[in-house]
């Protein structure tokens, strides 16, 4: 099938054209925030940067970063660049720690959001004939409304199921004929498990694609979901602070997500020094919004670690691609001095044939960090002899040690005993934090 684009002209524009658009929009945005947001005016003044000094994206590095703490400090509306009479929607994100943050959207901002979500849907082959089953939560969380808006834009049929009530999700998949499922990868996995448990052959479902995001997941998990639901599983990226889902979107090649560069400038930086890194080097993803009216954050530090690439993509899109983020710097665990991402553990588990239902426990015993990985037993790993099971456990522990660089204990638990998530899965329990460690 020939590749289809929602907005071919911009999605396949030359790099020069993209840069020209970014130059112009950045200059305009910097002036907008300088004139309308006290924090940006102060910060730029302190840094000795005038809006006139920003002539193109080559000057981007002169601008100060924006952090989540800035959003908290200016809660609720302190960073809005338009009067609240122009704001037509609010979304918020609570995060696991600290005060919630709130962002606003003007009518124009929502149009942009719908547009980038439409690009995502077209990129996975959807059009007005499709039924878009949205199982992201609807509410202050941006997940539900993002894809919902995109479905409306392309004239598809949106099914706003929201998250939860998995039996009903499956009934709707069957009866309403959903063709594209949108939810977190962990919830997709749970739906897949339940489809299997009910003895439903996935081939009998009209479902053919999934758009999964809002939490880090692995390639191995993608393969497993694709196999269990008999679909193509695509990655989508976004965060409330920048827009919501579809800041970047995956195409048919499935090797990373194209950043909507006509709306967002993306950079990778060294998270410790703030130094800008070249393409191809893993670093913290930083986004600058260049078309938003209400919350056009400048150089927003996502704390997500990813890699940018500019190689030619087989889909024909020319936007920079970002890899699936390995995880947030916030999710990174430092265990016995070694950096560990939960996604690395997931990679090992799935590669070794275990289920993606796992939980990581970190503790400190006698001043030494301990790492315990609980994973559900599968029929393939089970045996009537203790020796065989212990062999499997040892093999898994060996793999974990070689990939993580530290030892981990493995505990096999009964299927279904690890709590399932309808939204973002809680994979880690770090008990060290409870004792102020």
């Amino acid at each position: 099938m020939a590749e289809r684009y929602w907005q071919k002209e911009i999605e396949t524009a030359s790099r020069e054209e993209i840069k020209a658009i970014q130059d112009e929009r950045l200059v305009k945005t910097v002036k907008h925030v300088y004139d309308n947001v006290e924090m940006y005016r102060k910060r730029m003044d302190e840094a000795g940067v005038k809006p006139e000094d920003i002539k193109s994206i080559d000057d981007l590095h002169k601008l100060p970063f924006t952090t989540k703490q800035d959003l908290r400090d200016n809660y609720p509306y302190g960073l809005f660049a338009v009067p609240t009479k122009d704001v037509v929607r609010l979304h918020a994100s609570s995060g696991t720690t600290g005060k919630q943050i709130v962002v606003g959207y003007t009518k124009h901002d929502l149009d942009v959001w719908d547009e980038i979500a439409a690009r995502q849907l077209y990129a996975v082959g959807a059009d007005e004939n499709d039924f878009i089953h949205v199982s992201y939560g609807y509410g202050l969380f941006t997940g539900g409304f993002g894809l919902h808006g995109g479905a409306g834009k392309i004239g598809a049929t949106a099914i706003p199921v929201s998250s939860g009530n998995t039996d009903r999700q499956i009934t709707i998949l069957q009866d309403f004929g959903s063709t594209v499922l949108c939810c977190t990868p962990s919830y997709a996995m749970y739906i897949a498990e339940q489809v299997k448990a009910k003895g439903i052959d996935p081939k009998t479902l009209p479902l053919r694609a999934g758009i999964f995001g809002a939490e880090p997941w692995t390639e191995e998990m993608r393969h497993q979901i694709e196999e269990m639901l008999d679909i193509k599983a695509y990655d989508v990226y976004g965060l409330t602070e920048i827009m919501g889902p579809c800041v970047s979107y995956e195409c048919s090649e499935q090797t990373g997500m194209h950043v909507n560069e006509d709306h967002f400038i993306v950079e990778t930086i060294d998270p410790d020094t703030g130094e800008v890194l070249p393409y191809g080097t893993p670093g913290e993803l930083v986004f600058t919004c260049i078309t938003k009216e209400c919350c056009p954050f400048i150089r927003y530090r996502t704390r997500d670690i990813g890699v940018l690439t500019i190689d030619k993509c087989s889909c024909g899109r020319t936007f920079v691609k970002m890899t699936k983020p390995k995880g947030r710097t916030d999710d990174m665990l430092i265990i016995r001095g070694v950096n560990v991402f939960p996604s690395q553990i997931e990679t090992v588990l799935l590669r070794m044939g275990y289920s993606p239902n796992y939980k990581i426990f970190v503790d400190r015993v006698n001043n030494t960090d301990t790492l315990l990985v609980q994973v559900e037993m599968t029929e393939e790993m089970f045996s009537d002899t203790v020796t065989k099971i212990k062999e499997h456990e040892k093999a898994l522990e060996g793999e974990l040690r070689s990939l993580l660089g530290i030892g981990a204990d493995v505990q096999l638990v009964a299927p279904g005993s690890i709590e399932r998530s309808m939204g973002k899965a809680k994979r880690v329990e770090d008990k060290r934090k409870l004792i102020g460690g």
């Binding site: 037993m377 009537d384 002899t385 203790v386 212990k390 096999l412 638990v413 009964a414 299927p415």
Partner: protein, 143 residues
């Protein structure tokens, strides 16, 4: 000739075992024999039941992790030294035994023993040569 054994993964958690036996009881599946291998983290419950296919089906439906193994079942006279004979036959022939467990039948004259070995046919032949009868799956349901 071998008989069918079901193994069930049991978490070391209160109630895990009861759940399994309750499921079988509610389906009127009789337990002929039962043994449990315990480790620090988990247990393996091994069962010989009256209706293996149905037991597998209901346990799987209850989300249990199960596996089926062909094991040797031997019928012994219920008298001292009978089990020792079995063990001696195996050891004299260099048979490596993973595990074994014994159970009683309905009549007081016989006891049964389940043997988990690599080569069931070979072990059954050795036992027969020593005058020890082995049982078939059909005979299990009659015990």
């Amino acid at each position: 000739m071998s008989i069918r054994q079901i193994s069930v993964f049991v978490e070391n958690k209160q109630g895990s075992l009861v759940k399994i036996t309750d499921v079988l009881a509610s389906e009127s599946i009789d337990l002929r024999a039962m043994s449990i291998a315990d480790t620090q983290d988990f247990g393996i419950l091994r069962l010989i039941v009256s209706d293996t296919d149905r037991a597998l089906e209901v346990l799987r439906k209850e989300n249990c992790i199960v596996t089926e193994t062909a094991v040797v079942g031997a019928r012994l006279r219920n008298e001292p030294g009978a089990l020792a004979t079995v063990v001696r036959v195996l050891s004299e022939n260099g048979i490596n035994m993973e595990y074994m467990y014994a159970f009683n039948g309905a009549t007081p004259h016989h006891a049964y023993v389940v043997l988990r070995v690599d080569d069931n046919d070979k072990v059954e032949a050795l036992l027969l040569d020593s005058g020890i009868k082995t049982i078939t799956e059909e005979q299990v349901s009659e015990i």
